[in-house]
Symmetry: C2
Subunit: 500 residues, 2 copies
């Protein structure tokens, strides 16, 4: 059995290496690849992805798993080997249930849908995209049926992004959260509005870049094992625990994207950098889930990066870098400016108080389309009326509405809720960390971040993907995902800012 385990792990290590090689192809594509390299790059990526799929779904893998599952049952369930067999078995069952024909048809349909979506968005023409969206939904219904019976047709999709999470759980969480967040925004809208015009003025790119580097160096980003490059759509990626890179975009006339984007990607990176090396070259050497990952990025971006203690320490430095832009802006004005609540059309630009509502809207529409209670053709109307209900605004066109996000054109149904769940988890962890380290705010005010990172490493990072996300969150916080800490956080923070 030891030999089988060794062989099992050796195949998995090959797969991890192939995956990291694909990650580098992707990183390069989004950072340095010349435009004329796209065709060859597509071929390379699809070959590696096919070889990887063949290797993972091979008969040998199937029989190793069959032999190892009973053996893993005799091990400490928290041991690496037990967690590994369990996670891989689940992944194997999923991948082998989906027929190759579906994979091929889906790949073709997705490529086409994405292409048409780009045009449709540019032309603000939903009708053009609509038949492709219908096809995407149809394919996802077929996909779900490979996993029948299920509690909910959306479950198999959700599970691809948030292992073990059920649609009913997410709905319960969001139904609890939504009215409280809607009410908060309503109260805020009745108060005098905040000025953030000083954030929109020329800030030299070089200085923005250097300031971001300075901040995340203090956070603990390890430049011996990472680097930062420019990309249009920032992301974090890695090619092993020892090489975790981030990308950032810089807007020369708006300080926010680089400043908060860098902190955000740093949060993802610290997670991957902190995985214990005993998990190296195993598929467990990554974050527990999208939501847990997002909890780390949002923690650094928002709970730290948009907090008053942080700026008590860092604002004088920022003013020193940008004296003509911020020399006459007080700390209080700056703090309120970066936390301005402003219901708007675009999710990726949303503030903390409104962000989750953008997500809930999408989730509800995804579920309705999967259930068949909403036709793709009725989507724009459903979108716009919910925008009005939740945020009090109605998009003037579909490019600022239903066509804004890439996800549906890429078949990524099931992905959206993880963004909002990540926000909730970030505050659950934060409350626990604060209980363990009562002087946390004072540390932040002194520019000290080592204890925070140490706590996250110990409680979250080192475990990688050993535990399913809800299990991990329960172990660390004593509860599964729960919206109340986030609601408390929003009320307290924005109550103070808007004097509610």
């Amino acid at each position: 059995m030891e030999d089988k385990l060794t062989r099992f792990k050796s195949i998995l290590s090959d797969l991890v290496d192939l995956g990291h090689s694909m990650a580098l192809l992707g990183w390069d594509q989004q950072t340095y690849m010349p435009p004329g390299g796209a065709e060859d790059r597509g071929n390379i990526q699809s070959t590696l992805s096919r070889l990887s799929h063949e290797k993972f779904t091979s008969e040998e893998m199937g029989s190793l798993i069959e032999d190892l599952v009973p053996y893993a049952g005799t091990l400490d369930p928290d041991s690496i080997d037990a967690c590994l067999v369990k996670a891989v078995k689940k992944q194997y069952d999923k991948q082998t249930r989906v027929p190759a024909e579906w994979v091929v048809e889906n790949a073709k349909a997705t490529t086409l849908a994405h292409h048409v979506w780009e045009q449709a968005r540019a032309e603000k023409n939903f009708d053009k995209f609509c038949p492709h969206l219908e096809h995407m939904i149809q394919l996802r219904r077929e996909y779900a049926d490979f996993f029948a019976p299920y509690d909910h047709v959306y479950d198999p999709l959700l599970d691809n992004f948030e292992r073990g999470m059920k649609t009913a759980e997410v709905q319960a969480i969001f139904n609890d959260l939504r009215p409280q967040q809607v009410e908060l925004i309503r109260s805020i809208s009745e108060q005098p509005q905040v000025d953030d015009s000083f954030l929109h003025q020329p800030f030299p790119e070089k200085d923005q870049w250097a300031f971001g580097v300075d901040v995340i160096t203090c956070f603990g980003y390890d430049w011996d094992h990472g680097r930062q490059d420019k990309a249009v759509h920032p992301f974090c990626t890695n090619f092993g625990i020892g090489d975790v890179r981030i990308t950032t975009r810089v807007d020369p006339n708006w300080v926010n994207p680089a400043l908060f984007g860098t902190m955000h990607e740093n949060g993802h990176a610290l997670y991957e950098m902190g995985v214990d090396r005993s998990l190296a070259r195993l598929p467990l050497a990554t974050g527990a889930s999208m939501a847990v990952h997002e909890s780390q990025s949002r923690m650094y971006e928002n709970l730290i990066g948009r907090s008053l203690p942080f700026w008590k320490f860092y604002y004088p430095r920022l003013q020193e870098v940008f004296p003509s832009q911020l020399g006459n802006v007080s700390l209080e004005t700056f703090y309120k400016g970066i936390n301005k609540v402003h219901p708007s059309f675009i999710r990726v630009e949303a503030d903390e108080a409104t962000y989750n509502l953008h997500i809930m809207l999408r989730l509800e529409l995804e579920i309705a389309m999967m259930e068949g209670s909403l036709e793709a053709g009725d989507l724009p109307e459903a979108w716009n009326s919910r925008m009005q209900d939740y945020l009090g605004v109605t998009p003037p066109d579909d490019a600022l509405g239903v066509l804004q996000d890439v996800h549906w054109s890429s078949g990524l149904m099931g992905y959206f809720p993880t963004y909002a769940l990540g926000n909730l988890v970030s505050v659950q962890l934060w409350e626990r960390m604060q209980a363990d380290m009562p002087d946390m705010e004072e540390q932040i005010e002194r520019g000290e971040f080592a204890s925070i990172l140490g706590w996250l490493r110990e409680k979250v990072h080192r475990h990688g993907a050993k535990y399913e996300p809800q299990d991990l969150i329960q172990r660390v916080t004593g509860s599964t995902i729960n919206p109340q800490p986030y609601v408390r956080y929003l009320k307290s923070k924005f109550g103070a800012i808007y004097e509610l």
Copy 2:
């Protein structure tokens, strides 16, 4: 049979894609990888290289080749399919003749030898490296024996770098060349020496970079399908015909490395960029051999880049970029300076007139060691006495002598002669091109390089590796590799510069 050919090509395309993925891992390692990424990177590279080897030497591949060889014999021998089957069969026979145990032992021994060589060179201590060199030679004798019977024990090594080339051919070429080149250097050494001190002064890096970019843009380097980055040891690499990248190093106090290095790598890149797309994703989509590749880089670096017509056009531009450095240096002084002949210890810094002698020395020593007529322990003495015979200088220590190059510590015996052969081929092609385009020099003087690139594309580049190198050179120039054109070139060029 069509199905078998399709399957054969599809496996080969997978292998090409894997190879390009490995090339990207290598490019990244030498340009942007953070130091802490090295361990993971080594794992990824060795996994992909093993998967690639397994795929190529599989039984399926063997039986496809067996079936396709007779079929290919019925095709036009110049057709892609016929050339492909022939080239792949040869490669397959080579790879399957070498036992896995040898590959493993060699990989270990090479890693160790390289490590020890780095120390030995730093300590100027050949004795430390000597046993590892002996082991490298021993392993290469074993390697050669896998291909017995052979005409010469060095043949199987040479064939790895220059397909189809025999030791006896190379020896005949070099025996013809050596005395003529030694005599030329002797004559030059009796003439007044040239001043090149103006090349060694501060040149701002940014300006050096921009000037190199300007030059190779005029040469035809296609930035839509390539890019240039910094690397300690410059190289050219590609990830498909559509993405061919170069790297350059810049010395802030010496204008030569970036200037001529950029032109050199550009020559390699234009070759890979010019391969016909009908060869895409086949192993023929690359240069015909190391020597033919080097002929392209040396042509742009030396035959164009160190020529008087080129600088008649470009020198005013260079003076404009570096007015304080070169404003008072005349074109003639500059031209002589960049062509200064100066017998020295280090191959990579050698001028055109002495370069090949560095190579011949190495080749003779490699052959003698492989034959067993020279013991590794006697190498420094043999090296130094040949340096005195050929170049009239004796290295003061082994770091400037026998330990200077990385090749022997990396097991790359058989590689060196391709550098010198490339020089010879470059002038053979040049003479033919001049016969076809009598106004070539005038074009260069006007800064026009499109016809040169067009000629090279038509005659050399588009064919990729379809033909074996000697066959290709014969087709284009009417002769296999021949040293006389190079000798004529050296005598004419340096005769003028040194008034011989």
